[in-house]
C-alpha cells in the first residue's frame, strides 16, 4: 500500500501562490493556451465553410473575399464535409485541453496540499493561537481546490472564452465585411458589464464561504458534543444556533443567485442582441444588401457560436476572483511562523559526556505571556540528570506553558537557557528537542490500529508485537481487558472516538515511552485515570522504562508526590521548590 519514505522535503512557497500556480511547469500551461487558440480558430473556419455552402446553394455572389462559388454539387458537399471536420477537430482539441488543464490543476493541488499539511505540522502553537482545527481543514478542503481553479477552469475555459471573442470581429470582417472597430467595441462593452456583475458575484461568493465555514464549525461542535447535548436536552437550542447561520447563508445565497441569474440572462441573450445590432448596422449605416450566406454567417457566428463563450465569460471572472482570494488566504496561513523557519541555525552540542555537577537543564529569567498579563515571570529552574520532579500548581498557573516553552512551542524569552552547560541560543534547536519526550495533556490518537498508535507509525508490521505488549503492560493496558477484541489490530476510530479518556491517556503514555528519550515531560497526562491505576503505572514506569530518565511531571494530584525526588510549585509565574513533606501535608 504505502511506502515508507525517507524524510520528505517540506513543501515551501516563497512567492505568491497564484504565481507559483501559473509559473510551475509553465510550458505545459502555455500549451493549454495554444491548443485553445487552434480550437477557436477551427470553429470559425467551420462557420466560413458553412457560409460558402449556403452561398453556393443560392449562387449569390458574396461581396467578401471568400467568394469562390461552387460550380457543382461535389463542391457543395466538400464545403459541408469540411465544416463538419473542423467542428469535430475543434471539439476534440477542446476536451483534450480541459483534461490537460485538470491534470495541471491536480498537480498544483497536490503540491499546495502538501505545503499546507507541512505547515500545519510545523506551525508553532504560538502562531496558531486563534486558528481552529476546522479553519485549517477548510483551507485544505476549500481553498486548495479553489485556488487551482486557475488551471482547471480559468486557463482552458478562459482561453476558449477569450479566443473566440477576440477572433470573432476579424472573422466577421473577413467573411461578411462588418466593420472591425464597432464589433470590437461591442464585445468590449459586454465584457465590461460582465466583469462588474462577476465582481459583485465574487463578493457574495466570499461571504458564502465565510458563512459556510462558520456553519461547518458549528456542525463539528454539535457532533463532537452530541452526548452532552442529549444529556442536557440542549438539542433544540443548539440546532437553533446552527439554523441561524444556515439562514444567513441562505439569504446571502438568494442574493447571490439573483445576481448570478441576471448575469446569466444577459450573457445568454446578448448573442441575439449582437446579431440584431450587426444586422441593423449593416443595413442602415453601411446600406448593404446582404446575401443569404451573409445573413446566416452573421447569425451563426454571433448568435450561436459565441453563445457558449459568452455564457462562460462571467464564470471565468467569478472563478478567477475566487481563486485569487483563496490563494491569498493560503498565503496568510503559509506565512505564519513555523519551526521550519528555525531549521537553518542548527547547533550541535559539543560535550556529549558532561561532568555530573552540571545541571542537565538550567533556566534563568524565563518570561512568557502577554505584556499586560504575563504568565511566566522571571522563572528560574534547573534539573539534574536522572532527577524526577513534580510541578504542582493551580489550573492556569503556567505549568503547561512552562513545558511548552522548553519545547519551543511557545516563544518564551530566556535570559539564560543552558542544556548540559551549553547555551541554547535564540530558538530551541532541533538538538534539544530530540532529547525531549512529551506526553500531552490532551491525548491525540491516530485513526489507525492500536499497534500503529503505540508505535506512532502507520501500518507497522506485527513483528514487534511482543514489544508493543510490553509497553502496554507498563501502562496497565491489556487490550483484552479493555474490551478491544482484535488486540493490537483493533482499529481505533477517528481521534479515538471509541476509547474512554483513561484509555486514551494510557495509550498516549505508552506511545511516548516507546520513544526512549532521556528527558521526559509529562503534562498532567493521567488526570482521567483513577488514583490507584495512576499509582500503579507510575510505580511500574519509574522502576522500569523511566528508571534512568530525567522526568518533569506536572500534576495537581498529591498522591503522585511519593514517586518524585523534588516538588516545585508554580505560583505567580515562578517555580519555587517545596519540601515533599509539606506538599503532602496540604492534602488533609
Amino acid at each position: 500500500m504505502m511506502q515508507m519514505p525517507s524524510r520528505l522535503p517540506l513543501q515551501r512557497f516563497d512567492q505568491p501562490i497564484y504565481k507559483a500556480i501559473l509559473k510551475d511547469r509553465w510550458p505545459w500551461r502555455a500549451l493549454i493556451l495554444i491548443v485553445s487558440f487552434v480550437a477557436a480558430a477551427l470553429t470559425l473556419v467551420a462557420a466560413g465553410f458553412q457560409k460558402s455552402f449556403i452561398d453556393s446553394l443560392t449562387n449569390f455572389a458574396s461581396t467578401t473575399t471568400l467568394n469562390f462559388v461552387a460550380s457543382d454539387e461535389k463542391q457543395q458537399i466538400i464545403f459541408l464535409l469540411s465544416s463538419f471536420l473542423c467542428f469535430v477537430v475543434a471539439s476534440f482539441f477542446t476536451q483534450i485541453n480541459n483534461y490537460w488543464g485538470l491534470r495541471e490543476s491536480l498537480f498544483s493541488q497536490r503540491k499546495l496540499a502538501q505545503g499546507l499539511y507541512d505547515q500545519s505540522l510545523t506551525l508553532k502553537s504560538e502562531s496558531l493561537e486563534k486558528k481552529t482545527v476546522g479553519e485549517m481543514v477548510a483551507l485544505y478542503a476549500t481553498d486548495v481546490p479553489a485556488s487551482t481553479i486557475l488551471l482547471e477552469q480559468t486557463l482552458p475555459f478562459g482561453a476558449s472564452t477569450f479566443f473566440p471573442l477576440i477572433l470573432t470581429p476579424f472573422a466577421l470582417n473577413y467573411l461578411v465585411g462588418t466593420p472591425l472597430l464597432e464589433t470590437c467595441a461591442l464585445v468590449v462593452v459586454v465584457a465590461i458589464i460582465n466583469t462588474l456583475l462577476a465582481l459583485r458575484q465574487s463578493r457574495f461568493f466570499l461571504k458564502f464561504k465565510e458563512l459556510a465555514a462558520i456553519r461547518t464549525s458549528f456542525v463539528n461542535e454539535w457532533i463532537q458534543n452530541i452526548r452532552t447535548l442529549k444529556i442536557l436536552n440542549w438539542l433544540e437550542p443548539y440546532e437553533a444556533r446552527i439554523f441561524q447561520v444556515r439562514e444567513r447563508e441562505t439569504k446571502n445565497r438568494i442574493e447571490m443567485v439573483t445576481n448570478g441569474q441576471i448575469m446569466n440572462a444577459i450573457t445568454s441573450h446578448s448573442t441575439f442582441l449582437f446579431n440584431v445590432t450587426a444586422g441593423l448596422s449593416l443595413i442602415w449605416i453601411y446600406k448593404r444588401t446582404l446575401t443569404p450566406g451573409e445573413i446566416w454567417t452573421v447569425f451563426w457566428i454571433l448568435g450561436i457560436l459565441l453563445n457558449r463563450p459568452l455564457r462562460q465569460l462571467p464564470w471565468f471572472f467569478t472563478f478567477a476572483f475566487d481563486a485569487l482570494t483563496s490563494s491569498k488566504r493560503l498565503e496568510g496561513f503559509l506565512r505564519l511562523t513555523s519551526f521550519n523557519d528555525y531549521n537553518i541555525e542548527k547547533k550541535q552540542f559539543k560535550n556529549e559526556k558532561h561532568n555530573s555537577p552540571l545541571p542537565l537543564l538550567e533556566i534563568e529569567g524565563l518570561n512568557w505571556g502577554h505584556e499586560e498579563s504575563p504568565v511566566l515571570k522571571n522563572l528560574n529552574f534547573k534539573i539534574f540528570e536522572g532527577e524526577k520532579i513534580a510541578i504542582l500548581g493551580e489550573v492556569g498557573s503556567g505549568k503547561s506553558a512552562f513545558l511548552h516553552c522548553l519545547m519551543g512551542e511557545l516563544d518564551g524569552r530566556f535570559k539564560n537557557f543552558l542544556y548540559k552547560g551549553e547555551p541554547v541560543q535564540g530558538e530551541i534547536t532541533r538538538e534539544l528537542r530530540r532529547v525531549l519526550n512529551y506526553v500531552p495533556q490532551e491525548s491525540f490518537l491516530m485513526n489507525s490500529t492500536l499497534r500503529d498508535n503505540v508505535a506512532f507509525e502507520y501500518e507497522k508490521s506485527a513483528v514487534l508485537d511482543p514489544e508493543m505488549d510490553t509497553f502496554l503492560n507498563h501502562v496497565d493496558f491489556n487490550p483484552a481487558f479493555e474490551g478491544l477484541s482484535d488486540g493490537l489490530d483493533t482499529r481505533i476510530g477517528e481521534r479515538g472516538v471509541n476509547l474512554s479518556g483513561g484509555q486514551k491517556q494510557r495509550l498516549s503514555l505508552a506511545r511516548s515511552i516507546v520513544q526512549e528519550r532521556p528527558l521526559v515531560l509529562i503534562d498532567d497526562s493521567m488526570s482521567q485515570l483513577d488514583a490507584e491505576t495512576e499509582k500503579k503505572i507510575l510505580k511500574e514506569l519509574f522502576a522500569g522504562p523511566l528508571k534512568n530518565k530525567t522526568v518533569i511531571l506536572t500534576t495537581h494530584r498529591r498522591s503522585v508526590l511519593h514517586f518524585v525526588s523534588k516538588v516545585y510549585e508554580m505560583k505567580n509565574g515562578c517555580l519555587a521548590e517545596v519540601s515533599k513533606e509539606k506538599a503532602l501535608e496540604v492534602k488533609t
Binding site: 458537399i77 480541459n98 502538501q114 500545519s120 461542535e221 440572462a265 440584431v276
Partner: protein
C-alpha cells in the same frame, strides 16, 4: 464505555431510491403553484428567443423565394425583419430573466429546508449511530454534500430547466420548418440518450467514489493539526507526510478519473452533435434539390442544429453535474430517514413527513412547565449491553436512589459507572428492565426529554462552545444577565469575570481553548446551577482539578444542592466526603453500598491488596 467497532461508510449503488425524489418533492412542496407559473413563463421566453432563427429564415427567403412567405411578410424591407428579431429578443429576455431569478430563489429556499430537517433527525439519532460513525463522515453530509446540493439546486437547476426549454423549443421550431425534421431530431435525441446511458453508471459510480474518498484525507488533516506538537517533537513528520500524500493522492486520482470520464462523455456528445449537423445538412441540401425546402429552411435547420450543439451538450453536462446534487440529496435523505433514538420525538417545527414520531405544540408547552415533584431514581431489573453480541454491562441490576440522596459511585474502569449514567439519561436502549425518574419512565409513556431535563450533568471536560460567555451559560436564553452573573459569582469565577471587564459577550474559543481546565470546570458548574435540575450528576468532574478549585466546587454543591439528588462518580476517593452513601460497582453489580466511610475503607483495602498480586 465499551468498545464498539466502526461501521463502514454506506455505499450507494445503482439508481437513486424513490425516497430521494419524495424528499425533493417535500422540499419544493410549499412552492408548488408558484413553480407552475414560473416554469410556464420561462418556457415561453425561450421559445420567443429561439424563434429568432426562423425569422432569419423568413428574411433569407424574402430575398430568394418571397412567394413562400406568409402574406404579411411578403413585401417587408430587410429592417422589418431585424425589428421583429429585436422585439422577440427583448420580450424573451424579460420573461427568461423573471423565470431564472424566481426559480433559483425558490430552489435555494427549498434545499435549505432539507438541511434543517436532516439536522433535526441526526440530532435525535441513537447514540450508537454516533459511536459507529466517525465525526468526519457525518460532517461531510452537512458540509460537502449539502454544499453540492446548495450549489446545484440554485442557479444550475434554473440553467438546466432553461436548457430543457431550449430543447423542446428547438424540436417545435424545426418541425415548423419541415415535419420530416422531427423524425431526424427524434433519432438524434435517442442517440444522445443512448450515449448518456452508456456513460451514466460509470459517472455515477465515479462520483460516489469521489465523495467517499474525501473523508479520509480530511480526517487525517484534522488529526494532524491536533497532534502536531507530538508529531514534530518525535520527528514523525515523514510518516505523516507520507500518509497524507497517500490519502490525498487517492482523492486526487479519483477526482482525475471522474473528470476524465466526464470529458470523454462530453466528447462523445460533441461528436454525435457534429455528425448530426452533417446528417441534417445533407438532408436539407437534398430537400432543397427535391424542392420541399427553401434556402431559408436549410439555414434554419443548420442554425437550429448548431444551437442544439450547445443545448444538448449543456443539458447532459448539467445533468451529470446535477447527479452530484442528487448524490448529495441521496446522502442527506439517508440520514433523513434513519430511525430516531427510542422515545425521541421530532419537534413540532419539523415539516417533512418522514414517519418519525413528532411532538405537538401543546406537548412542548406542557414540557416547559414540568415541575419536578418526585425524583426518586429507580433502576429495575436492568439488563444492558452496548450492542448485541457485546458483553453484558448490567444483568438484572436493581438500584433505588431516593430523592435528595448524595450518592458517591466508585469502581474500577469498566465497572459500569459511566454506563450507569448513560442509561440514566436513556442514551442507549435497555435490553430489559426499566429506568425511571419519579413516575417518568419513557418506556411506559413517559417523556424522554423532560427526563433528561431533570438531570444536570458535569463531565470531566465540560463542553465549551465557540460562542459568547452568555450563550455558553444559557444556550436557551432563559435567564437575565443578573442571574448569569450571580451564577458566575457563586462558583468563584468572579475575579475571572472581572478580568474580562464583566463582559458576558466575551467570545470563548472552540473547546474553551482560552480557558484553563479549572475555569472550564467552574463554568460548567455555573451552567449546571442555572439549569435548576433536581438531579446533578458529576462524572469524574473534579479529577483534573487542583485542590483549591475542587474545594470551591464542593462547597457550592453543599450550599446549592440541599434537598436535591447528587450523583458523584469519582476515582479519587478523598473527594467523596460530601456523600451520604457510597455505591461500589464491580462488573455491573453492586459490590457494596452503605455509609461513606465503611465502603471507602473497604474499597481501598481491596484495591491495595490486588496491587500486590
Amino acid at each position: 464505555m465499551s468498545f464498539l467497532g466502526l461501521d463502514n461508510e454506506k455505499i450507494f449503488e445503482g439508481g437513486f431510491k424513490k425516497t430521494v425524489f419524495q424528499t425533493l418533492l417535500m422540499a419544493y412542496a410549499p412552492f408548488r403553484r408558484l413553480l407552475v407559473v414560473v416554469l410556464t413563463v420561462g418556457f415561453i421566453g425561450r421559445v420567443l428567443v429561439l424563434a429568432n432563427t426562423n425569422v432569419i429564415g423568413f428574411w433569407v427567403d424574402s430575398i430568394t423565394l418571397p412567394e413562400k412567405l406568409p402574406k404579411l411578410m411578403r413585401n417587408w424591407p430587410a429592417e422589418n425583419f431585424v425589428w421583429l428579431l429585436l422585439a422577440l429578443t427583448v420580450v424573451g429576455f424579460a420573461l427568461t430573466t423573471y423565470f431564472r431569478i424566481k426559480f433559483s430563489r425558490i430552489s435555494s429556499r427549498a434545499v435549505s429546508s432539507l438541511y434543517d430537517e436532516t439536522t433535526l433527525r441526526v440530532s435525535r439519532a441513537p447514540m450508537s449511530f454516533f459511536d459507529r460513525n466517525p465525526v468526519g463522515r457525518i460532517m461531510t453530509r452537512f458540509s460537502s454534500d449539502y454544499g453540492n446540493i446548495f450549489r446545484l439546486f440554485g442557479g444550475p437547476l434554473a440553467e438546466f430547466f432553461s436548457i430543457v426549454f431550449d430543447l423542446i423549443a428547438l424540436v417545435i421550431l424545426l418541425t415548423v420548418v419541415h415535419s420530416s425534421l422531427f423524425i431526424l431530431m427524434a433519432i438524434y435525441a435517442a442517440a444522445n440518450i443512448l450515449v448518456y446511458k452508456l456513460n451514466r453508471n460509470k459517472l455515477r459510480e465515479a462520483r460516489r467514489t469521489l465523495s467517499s474518498q474525501r473523508g479520509p484525507s480530511l480526517a487525517h488533516f484534522a488529526e494532524t493539526a491536533q497532534g502536531a506538537i507530538s508529531i514534530r517533537l518525535f520527528e514523525k513528520e515523514p510518516l505523516f507526510q507520507a500518509r497524507f500524500a497517500y490519502l490525498d493522492k487517492m482523492y486526487l486520482e479519483s477526482k482525475r478519473k471522474t473528470v476524465a470520464l466526464v470529458l470523454s462523455y462530453v466528447f462523445q456528445m460533441n461528436f454525435l452533435s457534429t455528425l448530426w449537423f452533417l446528417v441534417v445538412g445533407f438532408y436539407s441540401w437534398w430537400g432543397l434539390r427535391q424542392g420541399f425546402m427553401s434556402v431559408g429552411d436549410v439555414g434554419v435547420s443548420l442554425g437550429l442544429i448548431l444551437f442544439s450543439f450547445n443545448a444538448v451538450q449543456m443539458f447532459f453536462e448539467w445533468l451529470t453535474q446535477l447527479e452530484e446534487g442528487f448524490v448529495g440529496v441521496e446522502r442527506m435523505d439517508d440520514y433523513l430517514r434513519r430511525p430516531l433514538e427510542a422515545h425521541m420525538k421530532l419537534p413540532s417545527t419539523a415539516i417533512y413527513k418522514t414517519g418519525h414520531p413528532q411532538d405537538t405544540r401543546q406537548e412542548e408547552e406542557k414540557r416547559k412547565k414540568t415541575e419536578f415533584s418526585n425524583f426518586d431514581i429507580k433502576f429495575q431489573n436492568v439488563s444492558f449491553q452496548y450492542s448485541e453480541g457485546h458483553d453484558w454491562v448490567f444483568k438484572n441490576f436493581n438500584l433505588v436512589i431516593p430523592q435528595g440522596q448524595k450518592l458517591g459511585i466508585i469502581g474500577r474502569t469498566g465497572s459500569g459507572k459511566s454506563s450507569l449514567l448513560q442509561i440514566l439519561s436513556h442514551l442507549y436502549p435497555l435490553a430489559e428492565g426499566s429506568v425511571a425518574i419519579g413516575s417518568n419512565d419513557p418506556n411506559l409513556n413517559g417523556d424522554l426529554q423532560s427526563l433528561r431535563k431533570s438531570v444536570a450533568y458535569l463531565p470531566q471536560d465540560p463542553v465549551i462552545f465557540k460562542a459568547t460567555l452568555r450563550d455558553n451559560l444559557d444556550l436557551e436564553k432563559t435567564y437575565t444577565d443578573q442571574e448569569l452573573i450571580q451564577a458566575l459569582l457563586k462558583v468563584g469565577l468572579g475575579p475571572w469575570f472581572d478580568s474580562l471587564n464583566q463582559d458576558l459577550d466575551y467570545e470563548l474559543q472552540e473547546k474553551g481553548k482560552n480557558l484553563s481546565l479549572g475555569e472550564k470546570q467552574l463554568l460548567g458548574l455555573a451552567r449546571c446551577l442555572l439549569q435548576k435540575a433536581p438531579i446533578f450528576v458529576l462524572d469524574e468532574a473534579t479529577s483534573a482539578l487542583d485542590p483549591v478549585t475542587e474545594k470551591i466546587v464542593l462547597s457550592v454543591l453543599r450550599q446549592e444542592y440541599k434537598g436535591k439528588t447528587l450523583l458523584f462518580v469519582a476515582h479519587r476517593t478523598q473527594t467523596l466526603g460530601i456523600c451520604d452513601e457510597i455505591l461500589w460497582l464491580e462488573k455491573g453489580k453492586v459490590k457494596l453500598k452503605g455509609r461513606a466511610q465503611d465502603v471507602l475503607s473497604h474499597f481501598e483495602k481491596v484495591n491495595l491488596d490486588s496491587r500486590q498480586v
